[in-house]
């Protein structure tokens, strides 16, 4: 199955220059993400987390600095990354193709890349959906299933490409608390089985500490790394963990760091971007 890739972000900067007024979204941000690490990035709204994710995904070029994947240059201002199936994004609002059934969505990657025949891709999609508890809705269209199921299906679609890196941009933001716990469980199972490198953006600190091997707390814009929390809680994890003192103290530590930055952002008059 897929083996995670190591990501090294070195002094990455990004200036948005929509109408001459340069907005610095990322300021010499450096980050080392190990092979197969579950990295969660938290920070104030609009701090540039998504900018970094887009740069890794290959949707934006950098204004300065470099990003390496497994020691190879992935993106620099002169050589921007192109999107690739080794780094799959699960989007904030979901991007399952509405005109394809769920299994067609999941089989899309391997078929588009030509790595599998249609039959093989379908078989793979169905087993991926089964792992996500979605066997029964394989033939439905995304518009016919619940939002929680859609998010799981999208993760299954990403994993069908056996990516080195799974990039998730607040994937569970719109889910209710109960649906979220189910989604977490499935994501953890997939992670424990395949060990891709995960880059997961969220505002939900419980989610962050529960899922992560490492939490990066970002500063307010321009984004840099404020604090790194190593979460050494044993895997596989389940919800009993939430009551443990280790979890509680990590959660508190994380909260303090985030709160400090959020206050700074607030007094600087930042708004949700």
């Amino acid at each position: 199955m897929s083996v995670g890739g190591a990501i090294s972000v070195r002094e990455a900067s990004k200036i948005y220059d929509p109408d001459g007024a340069g907005v610095l979204a990322l300021d010499r941000c450096s980050m080392e993400i190990g092979k197969g690490e579950f990295t969660v990035v938290v920070g104030p709204s609009g701090c540039g987390k998504t900018t970094l994710l887009n740069a890794i995904a290959g949707f934006h070029e950098l204004s300065g600095g470099e990003i390496y994947l497994d020691g190879r240059l992935l993106s620099s201002p002169s050589r921007p990354a192109r999107p690739g199936s080794d780094r799959i994004v699960v989007f904030q609002n979901g991007a399952l193709f509405p005109w394809m059934t769920v299994w067609e969505n999941v089989a899309f990657g391997p078929m588009a890349q030509g790595t599998l025949s249609k039959e093989a891709a379908k078989a793979k999609a169905l087993s991926g959906l089964e792992a996500m508890g979605l066997s029964l809705i394989a033939d439905d269209y995304p518009g016919q299933i619940s939002s929680g199921m859609r998010r799981r299906a999208e993760i299954a679609r990403a994993m069908a490409c056996e990516p080195k890196v799974l990039l998730l941009d607040e994937p569970f933001r719109a889910l209710d608390a109960l649906t979220k716990t189910v989604a977490h469980q499935f994501l953890m199972e997939v992670y424990d089985r395949d060990r891709p490198t995960v880059f997961f953006i969220t505002h939900d600190l419980d989610e962050a500490v529960f899922l992560a091997s490492k939490v990066f707390v970002m500063t307010t814009r321009p984004a840099g790394v404020k604090k790194i929390l190593e979460v050494t809680l044993p895997r596989p994890r389940d919800y009993r963990l939430l009551a443990s003192p280790e979890y509680q103290s990590l959660r508190a530590e994380c909260q303090d760091a985030v709160r400090e930055e959020a206050l700074k952002a607030f007094s600087a008059g930042e708004r949700e971007m």
Binding site: P83, P98, A112
Partner: protein, 265 residues
Amino acid sequence: MIGAMSLKKRLAKLAASRSLRRGLISVALFFVLWELSARLKIPVVGAIPAPTEVLACLGRELVSAYYWRSWGVSLARILAGFAIAQVLGVPLGLLLGFSRKAREIIFPIIEIMRPVPPLAWVPVSVIFWPSAEMSMIFVTFLGAFFTVVLNIVEGVAAIDVRFLRAAASLGSSRRDVFWRIMLPASLPSVLVGMTVGMGVTWCVVVAAEMIATNTGLGFMTWRGYVAGEFPMIVVGMLSIGLAGYLSSGLIRRIGLHFTPWLKGQ
């Protein structure tokens, strides 16, 4: 529990039948008022032939070859004009939607032509085309063409960038992006363009038939006026309305068949 359920059901049924009854009463009242105003020769509205006369006229027409020939002629014009509009309009719309360069070159011309109502083209197309039939089809074509093109351009422009990014990320080629992402993503607006275009086509063909030819449902209605057969006018109007309704419904049906993911949404 069972009692409560059946009570609820019965209430729902009653509400449904009540709204049905209201509808029926309203329609019946409409016809009674119409009949009365015709019989009593009430000014303005009284000039319209009474429903009973219209029904009698309709009965005669339903067995007349002329009536059905008028349907056939108008339908043939609609189909020809509409089909040509699709054959030319769908690819052009897609091209304009996908290529910025094409948009910059071709769009200004479309913007000049578009505000001219299709019927304003009637005199010029009668001069232009060798037969009345061709000019009729041409005007019909114009009616649908711009609607189709503009809807597609808008549909393509509205494709969510997330889908394109997701497709790129999943490793699709440019060809795949076109055929498997952009085309299906813009299909719903293609179909909206077709449905609206079909409606416009009927408006156009009826008016054009009144002006420039002596066949078809439009002319049949006009002839009713010229010949003083007033019930015939109403029969013509109803027939045109029904024809437009049926053809738009047909397009929607065909459209749903090609966009199964929109069912039940």
